[in-house]
Structure formats: structure tokens, C-alpha cells
Symmetry: none
Subunit: 250 residues, 2 copies
């Protein structure tokens, strides 16, 4: 076993497990501990891993350029629940849209091993899925640094060139009476673009967003086929949506 091969395997292990030990690697790669140490030192000086006493760690935490602006942390339990449900809907071979919402971002970890194609305008989603089984298609256009996503006219045109089985979208507000609403027009534009090119539109929104109206009201409820939410959602409210022919998962 030569260095490039070991390097590849070590890197893969570090990525998977987060951290590794010298002994563990020496055992696994059938070589001496000192050789492993040398490998780790070399890799660390290249910035590939973070060297620790007795092993190495994923550099990702420090290097991974952008963490999702911590919005992911709030309400995380409910969001994971929503994402688990949504992930179950995705079959191998499908093409899906994912927009730049924080809930939608959480979906990444549940679909890493699916053989699907994801079309997205979210930079964090691309970073997350780039090293996974998923094939990623990135929407081109102006980058909006605040939202860490691509938006605008060109972006919408790009989306219009594709067709997907499913679209997984986030919104800032949803109500039976006024439909979907958002904080900004640019986000609304992308949501519309993706929705109109997908067979089924899935809205991922935790229960705090139900029956709330925000700045821009941009689409009727009929745009969506499925709403995925958490168990805290009131049954009465959900019934409102179901009466309009929408499937509800919670």
C-alpha cells in the first residue's frame, strides 16, 4: 500500500468519522504507526486534515467556509422531523429542486446517499452535497451574500430550462386565505420559478409559519401539492389546507 492510496483512505475515514487515531489507522492499513504519523504530518501541512495528539481531525469545522447562518440551530428538532418525512418521499433516480431556506438545507444530511439529481440555488446545499452520492446542478447568476444563494433574472431563466419530479421549498409564511408569502421579492421569484417546473411542490415549513402573512404575498395555496410540517401544528389549521386538496405530512 503506497502513500497516495493511504492518503485517500485516511481522508475518506476522517471525512466519515470526524476524527481518527494513529493506532486505528496503522491497524486498518496494515502498516506501522510511524508511517501513519508521517502521512498525517504530510497531509496536515497541506491543510487536508487537522493534526491532533494521537490522531487527526476533520479540518472542515475550521475551513468549511460558510456555516449556515446558525438559523439551522433554532427549532432544530422540528426541522429534522420535517426533513425525515420529506426525504422518505424521494426515490432513487428522481430530479428535485431545493431552494435556499434553512429548513431545506437540513434536508441534505438525509439524502446524502440517494442516487438523485438536485438542482439548487443555495451555496450551502452545494457545499454539503458536493461530496456525496447526489449529482448536483447549480443555478447560475448573481450571488446574494446575505442569503448565500443565487437569485435574479438569470437564475430564474436557468431554472426554466430544467424539469424536476419534485420541488422542496421553504417559505416565510403561509395562510389558507392569502397563500404563500416571503420577506423579499427575489426569494419569491425563485420559489415561483422552481414550483412551475416541478411535478409536485413540497413546502417544508415548521408550525410557527402556519397562518402567518409576510411582506410579499406571491402565490396562491394551489401552487403546492404537499405541506410537510411538525407535530406541533394544530390539526384545525392543517384541516384548512387539506380542504383545499393539499396533502399534509406531519
Amino acid at each position: 500500500m503506497n502513500f497516495p492510496n493511504r492518503k485517500r483512505l485516511i481522508l475518506q475515514m476522517v471525512e466519515e468519522k470526524g476524527s481518527v487515531e494513529v493506532k486505528e489507522l496503522a491497524d486498518l492499513l496494515q502498516t506501522s504507526e510511524i508511517t501513519i504519523r508521517r502521512d498525517l504530518t504530510a497531509m496536515a501541512s497541506d491543510g487536508l486534515i487537522y493534526r491532533t495528539h494521537g490522531g487527526a481531525m476533520k479540518v472542515g469545522l475550521a475551513t468549511n467556509p460558510v456555516q449556515f447562518v446558525n438559523k439551522t440551530a433554532v427549532n432544530s428538532e422540528n426541522k429534522d422531523h420535517i426533513c425525515r418525512l420529506a426525504a422518505q418521499e424521494i426515490k432513487d433516480g428522481e430530479v428535485v429542486f431545493m431552494d435556499c431556506g434553512s429548513t431545506v438545507f437540513r434536508l441534505c444530511q438525509f439524502i446524502r446517499n440517494k442516487r438523485i439529481q438536485v438542482i439548487t440555488n443555495s451555496i450551502p446545499v452545494v457545499n454539503e452535497l458536493m461530496q456525496s452520492e447526489v449529482t448536483v446542478n447549480l443555478v447560475g447568476g448573481e450571488v446574494d451574500p446575505a442569503r448565500q444563494a443565487v437569485h435574479g433574472l438569470i437564475a430564474n431563466e436557468h431554472v426554466a430550462r430544467y424539469h424536476a419530479h419534485k420541488a422542496f421549498l421553504g417559505v416565510d409564511g403561509i395562510s389558507a386565505q392569502h397563500g404563500l408569502s416571503a420577506h423579499s421579492e427575489t426569494e419569491a421569484g425563485m420559489t415561483l420559478a422552481m414550483a412551475s417546473q416541478a411535478d409536485d411542490v413540497y413546502l417544508l415549513c415548521d408550525s410557527t409559519k402556519l397562518e402567518k402573512d409576510k411582506y410579499v404575498q406571491f402565490a396562491p395555496l394551489s401552487l403546492v401539492q404537499v405541506i410537510v410540517t411538525d407535530p406541533q401544528a394544530s390539526a384545525d389549521v392543517l384541516k384548512l389546507y387539506q380542504q383545499q386538496g393539499i396533502r399534509v405530512l406531519n
Copy 2:
């Protein structure tokens, strides 16, 4: 058994198994180890395989798939020199292309505070420049995980919609006789697309790439206006380029 035949079989084996050993090949192809070594050396210089001690690997497996922050570490002094020169050429208000080379990536740190617009197909460049003064425009299309960049037909079309003052591009090889060459056709396509939409094409390449021919030769030297390289570059070689009307910075 002649060289073309061995070459074909070796390539096939490398593709299948990911990595091969000299002994293994000598045994299988009924020839001596030294002949195999010669074959491997020749193939490696064409960029078909990655040479290792005792064998060879698939190119994709050897080049680290994640974080190419490491690649920037090798030859970093020379690369910084190149980037400093290149950065000085960029004036506020300009629009520039940046491709997905590792040298080009290093340019990011030198242009963070410029009021310019960058159009790029490189994910690391986007991550790096997203929180800076620079306005970023991302090229859309299929994401190539190995290169951490967007490539392909759609990507090239996207580039064709824009015009830039300058393009900063990396290549794998350059020679006075055969022009520009690359390891893969997809990279070559993006380079061409950007070059044809820019007023001035700047080639960022350290001296190790001068007078080297790689797998795909895709453009004549006349495509570029400026070559930026390091002080190690031989004056004789640079003169060759200057005679063809190219400006050389080093």
C-alpha cells in the same frame, strides 16, 4: 505485445481497480518491470494516470476530492507571487472571469477589497469571495465534485451571456509550439468559453507548467494576451512567448 496495446490494457485496469502495481502489471502483461515503468512514466506525462511509487493510480483518486485548499499549499510562494502581479492588473469597476484552477483560487485573497465583479465557475472561489467587497456571479450547470466547479454545455452557454474586461485562467500545460493543453476536455471547454468573452486573457501558470504538453491540446498561444508566471521561469522560454506578441509578467 506492443506499447499501444499495453497502454490500452493498463488504462483499462487503472479505471477498473483505481490503482495498480508495477509487479502486477509486469506479471499480467508478460513483460519486465522496467518496461512497465517506462509505460507508466509516458502515460503519466500525458496526464492519463497518476504515477505512484510502485505503480499508478486513477487521476481522480489521487487529486484530493475535498477542499483543494491543500493544493494551494504546494508551490505556494510562487503562486502568491503570480497572484500579486495579477491582482495589480485589476482596476475597480472591472468585470473579470476566474476559472477553477488552484492558482486562480489563490488570487481571491488579493482582491477581496476591490470593487469589482467576478464571474466564476469555481465553488471555492464563491465561498471565498461571498463575504467580501466583490460582487460574485456564479456560472450555472452540472457540478463536477472532483474539480469543485461547474462544467459542461449549460455552463459554457452561461458564460457566453457575459462579457468581461479580463479573464484569469489556469492551464495544465503551455508550450510555444502546441499552445495550451489540459488534463480534461471539460476544463478546456470552460477555458475557451471564458477566453472568448474577455477583452484580455491572463494565464496564471507557475514555471513548472511552461513548455509542457498535456492530454488535450485545445487552443493556440494566440488566445492569450498576458502570461503571469514566477521568477523561476527560464528567460529563454519566456522569450519564445514574447516573440509571439504575448506580454509576460514575472
